[in-house]
Amino acid sequence: MRCTQLIAELCAYLDQEGPQAWADFEAHLAACRKCRQLVETCRQTILLYRSEPLPPLPAAIHSRLMTAVRRARPAK
């Protein structure tokens, strides 16, 4: 496997998607320091975004939204 092939399969590997066996991919990783660094820092990039704390919604926004929904409520 070449570095360019590894990059083409990078997302599938990180997401463990698809039916592929990863023996060739991992053999390349074991032999190529730059690709190991690439895979690891990509993984860290995704983790940083996945672990972002969600800011709480300001109460005023929820209350404006509810007013709009109540106004849109069909008369029954």
């Binding site: 360019t4 940083l48 926004i61 849109a72």
Partner: protein
Amino acid sequence: MPEAELVAAAQGGDLGAFEQLMQRYEPRVLRLAMRIVGNEADAEDVLQEAFLKAYAKLDSFQRQSSFYTWVVRIAVNEALMKLRRRRGDRELPLDQELDTGEDLLPREVEDWRPNPEQQMARQELQDLLNQNIASLALPYRVVFQLRDVEGLSTEETADALHLTVPAVKSRLLRARLQLRDKLSRYFRRPGDGSLPAGAARPEGQA
């Protein structure tokens, strides 16, 4: 209360149940809208339009996907329409051709310092993440947000954006590589990554 019960109650006319569903997902939908439209006022408009539309179409929700995925699809659509109106474009901004044939092989790859999330204050890190994702081209930013932040599957992302699965995969790869590259400037281990570009290319290409 489980989501399915809340959805069933809301579909039966229980406004309180709908409000609980909204409260569960409002912060995530607002963040998603912010990431697409880029400012708080437009993002709040998108949030409101998305939930009003969800409320109006609640009877048509078939429960084949989760309520959240369904709302996200509506919100993405509203956000893209908002952008299109703002820019005066006729085309959806996601339709632009992106393949420039650029080499995907990063020129510099280096280790990061351990625990990058501990390298700076929480707010500083959040600002950095926001700025860097905001600097991606829209088609990359939206795909990354839906797949990696909101946790939609590749198929759900393709469906929400009216893209093919291969297009989502290609954009996700480019988004991840670009973000990695941007964040590397802040997190790389001192003394690493200083090799000339040619020397820093991954090994094993021969």
